[in-house]
Subunit: 227 residues, 2 copies
């Protein structure tokens, strides 16, 4: 018989608490994670959790770190750096797709370890790409910011209407809203509304990554030519 709550027998630990938190977040979103829900699932008192975890912020950080660490572990050895960057970016994208609360959490604290993990992965490949040391920080943070920005954007859209409708229906609805905007004030958004329903989030995400990679390649070449 499946029982969501854990047996009271085994003692509490950071690890068990974080796992339970991730399960609650995946099932109900960021709003569902409360210390009361958590202690109920763990069959313990709400105060007990504070013996193992400093506070809710620390819990969210730990949960995010675990999820991102798993995503980063899938390292592409032997693949060319630009391919590796695409794979890494898609890995983050798919992770946020599977755990939408991670998007907001990454944006909420850019100095947390999970973000450093992504920066490390991106930076290593930027270096492998041949970018000289002075340019690596800017190139890596540009990629990082884009990844966090678009992935977070996608996360909200997908999670907000996750229950009521699917992504396609949601996009069609947004498109019809955009199409009704003031033509004088929003000509571009209106024009782009037509592309919205049939657009593919992953494809758009990759197109952005490729744009930045092209920019990196271009500035690398001009530097070599002029230097």
């Amino acid at each position: 018989m499946a029982d969501k709550s854990e047996r009271r027998a085994d003692p509490l630990s950071q690890e068990r608490i974080v796992s339970a938190a991730i399960a609650i977040l995946d099932e109900g979103g960021a709003g569902a994670l409360t210390f009361r829900a958590l202690s109920a699932r763990l069959a313990t008192g709400s105060g007990a959790i504070y013996w193992h975890v400093a506070d809710k912020q620390a819990l969210l950080t730990a949960a995010t770190d675990q999820v991102i660490a798993q995503a980063m572990a899938r390292g592409g050895d032997g693949t060319p750096p630009d391919e590796a960057i695409r794979a890494l970016a898609l890995g983050v994208f798919d992770t946020i797709d599977a755990h939408p609360w991670v998007g907001a959490q990454l944006a909420d604290d850019p100095w947390q370890h999970a973000v450093l993990r992504i920066l490390e992965g991106v930076g290593a490949q930027v270096a492998a790409l041949g970018v000289p040391e002075e340019g690596r920080f800017n190139a890596a943070t540009a990629l990082l910011s884009f990844i966090l920005g678009l992935a977070g954007q996608y996360a909200v859209g997908s999670s907000r209407f996750g229950g009521d409708m699917d992504r396609a229906t949601f996009l069609r609805e947004v498109a019809s809203q955009w199409a009704q905007l003031d033509p004088v004030e929003h000509p571009f958004v209106r024009e782009v509304a037509a592309q919205l329903p049939q657009h593919d989030d992953r494809q758009q995400f990759l197109a952005g990554v490729d744009l930045i990679l092209a920019g990196i390649e271009r500035s690398r070449r001009s530097r070599r030519t002029s230097g």
Copy 2:
């Protein structure tokens, strides 16, 4: 005699409520905005606010929209499109610098009007840049995602330690933390830590914008060459 609270005489209105909310957010950050603080400043009952504003989310959206609308109003007419994009991006950056809560709010709801305003501004310039219609959406959202991503990142760092220390001290502290990371697991972040203290956020932000602009230019050329 300066009095922060408004005179009870004038009637409540959406506009007065939003202005008061912005003032509270600017002074105390996102955590300071409560309906109790708001009603105290407006010298009214907490329930009265609900007659003019649907809920807290709507209030935050309206506040963000007003701040971003002001930033977008400074339109650079007559400047070349790439310059206009840089100016526009910096405008958003500086706005978030002045109102750090805007960063989180923009990331929190990517479909709100404030985000559309930015997308509209970016998209118009992307079109002026000569990008063909099929490529504009991807190019504009790439720029948008980068702007929201890095600006949000900066906002958190600057606001979190706004009271205790200045940005330079904060960066020096982060750098020394990064320098102590495991060399095997985080070689890149450790390398980059050395650049952190003397780096300029605005410069890094512009470098990222330029990278994407270079990528847009490159794919525009290759398309023309191959087409």
